[in-house]
């Protein structure tokens, strides 16, 4: 620690430094489960065993079995991919769309800004899940269409932030310098404006991933996401609903997986946001 740092009141250490690293560790585990689920369990997630349905957690079945006798731990591990891929995909699509529309709104002059901003207002005027319902009703039930719907929900927020950031950075000297050097406007936008304007939305996107995962698991829960027998966390909970009187474990563990995943993304994202905030101050 240098003297200059001691001269000003030392900023309180960000609470949740440990929480951040626990969150990151959990996200690494999740990523491993998404890519190599077989690393975690040898059990086939879709192997039904009608002789051992709804067995409580035991040494053979760590988290018990569901109404078809399938191993819940294996289904949670293999479920990581279908459960997270919709939220991730939707966030990537929303980011891409948000960057393009936000930059366009900032750079296309008054009329373009007005048109794009009103389109975003219309998207924002429909409560999130209902917008997804509309998209799924139009395009049909399935993971891909749920992803598109969720992307449309996330897009306006990103676009607005990018628009504001582009307006903020376009007065910077390096932009003037690049234009003065005779670079084409489009090149300047792609090489200078966008890279400097997108920083804040990545932290926003990480926090947003949490709500995307809640939303996508809600959609699977009501049957609008991946179709059975896909092991998806929301769909697993939906299956457990009819057996609540008999067994609590099929209703508990998949929900725990969703909650922990959401928590991990939220904690990590908020940590990133605080770091960006502090740097810009």
């Amino acid at each position: 620690m240098t003297d200059t740092e001691l001269a000003v009141p030392r900023p309180r250490r960000t609470t949740g430094g440990t929480a951040f690293w626990i969150g990151v560790a959990f996200l690494v585990l999740l990523a491993a489960a998404v890519v190599f689920p077989a690393l975690f369990t040898r059990i086939d997630p879709n192997a039904a065993d009608l002789l051992s349905t709804l067995r409580p957690p035991s040494a053979a079945h760590w988290l018990g079995t569901d109404q078809n006798g399938r191993d819940i731990f294996a289904r949670i591990v293999y479920g990581a991919r279908p459960s997270l891929v919709i939220g991730l995909g939707a966030t990537v699509l929303a980011l891409a769309g948000g960057i393009v529309l936000g930059t366009a709104a900032a750079q296309l002059g008054r009329a373009g800004d007005q048109v794009i901003s009103r389109v975003l207002d219309v998207l924002l005027s429909v409560p999130g899940l209902l917008l997804v319902f509309l998209v799924v009703a139009v395009l049909g039930i399935g993971s891909a269409n749920a992803t598109i719907g969720l992307a449309l929900v996330g897009l306006p927020g990103f676009a607005r932030v990018v628009r504001a950031e582009v307006i903020r950075v376009r007065g910077a000297h390096y932009v003037e310098a690049a234009l003065g050097l005779g670079w084409r406007r489009f090149t300047v936008i792609v090489r200078h404006l966008v890279p400097n304007a997108v920083g804040p939305i990545f932290a926003l996107a990480t926090v947003g991933l949490g709500s995307m995962i809640v939303a996508s698991s809600s959609l699977s829960f009501v049957g609008l996401g991946p179709q059975p027998p896909t092991a998806e966390w929301g769909a697993m909970l939906s299956g457990s609903r009819d057996y609540l009187v008999l067994a609590w474990w099929p209703a508990v563990f998949p929900g725990l997986a969703i909650t922990l995943a959401v928590l991990a993304f939220t904690v990590a994202g908020q940590h990133l946001q605080r770091r960006i905030d502090r740097r810009s101050r």
Binding site: F133, A137, S218, I258
Partner: protein
Amino acid sequence: MAGVLTVPAPRDRRAGRLARLLGTRIAASVVVLWAAVTAVFFLLRLMPGNTVDVLLARSQVSPQVRAQVIAAYRLDGSVGTQYLAYLGRVLTGDLGESYVLREPVATAIGQQLPDSLALLAATMVITVVASVVLAILGASRRPWVRSSFTAVESLASSVPPFWLGLLLLTVFSFTLHWFPAIGSGGLPGLVLPSIALAASAVAVVTRVLREGLLHALEEPFVVTARARGTGELAVRFRHVLRHALLPVTTILGWMAGSLIGGAVIVEIVFSRAGIGRLTLSAVQNRDMPVVTGVVLLAAVIFVVVNILVDVLNWIVDPRTRG
């Protein structure tokens, strides 16, 4: 409650400013809603297949009904006539007919709406009461209070409402038998669904309110109030709360949207009657008149709530009165 140093504006001038604020906000909202109706109209036309078949959701109907649909939506006319006819119908509150349910969309929604509104109202009450109480109790700079509140808030805002609903059902309906497991069933049936729906909103509002209280507690007027011998709770309720409410009003709009969406899912978890079940089955059957009707209604509610939030801001914070 005017500040000590500012002279309150005359009543009629303040009313004029409120009218102007309302006027611009309503005008902007009307434009957005008109654009939403237009988008829905073109969405229906862009769907694969004949627009008649889209509206009929592929249900079997007699040629007379088919002719009625064509006449009602002016489907034999040009796009312009069709659009004007659609706009005119929506403006008069006619959302069309569900050929799956065989009743007008407005009737179908009207039957389900009271149950959903009851759920939303109960959720709002829980959210406001719980957040204010929790925030006042938790507004402390003591590290352990602060970090435990932060931890619980993060956890509560990460729990999916439908899963919380399942857990509440398991514990309070199936194990303890305190509350009915299914159906609306009046007030007792409202308790668990509204808790499930309110939890994440309570977490978010408590956090914002708590941070606001902590900020406001450092203001000079708090020292003055304490010096007058005002008790700690009275300081918080009478002086600080109003200041801390300002950041809350700005997230209320966002909250309304997430609650409306969440209510749909929570209704399904608890097998409650309501817009949720109506919408879900409409999506599954691709009953477009019902889906678009619900979406437009939700947009209207959402936009109205946002205008009310602006007015609330105006009431809570004298500074926004310009």
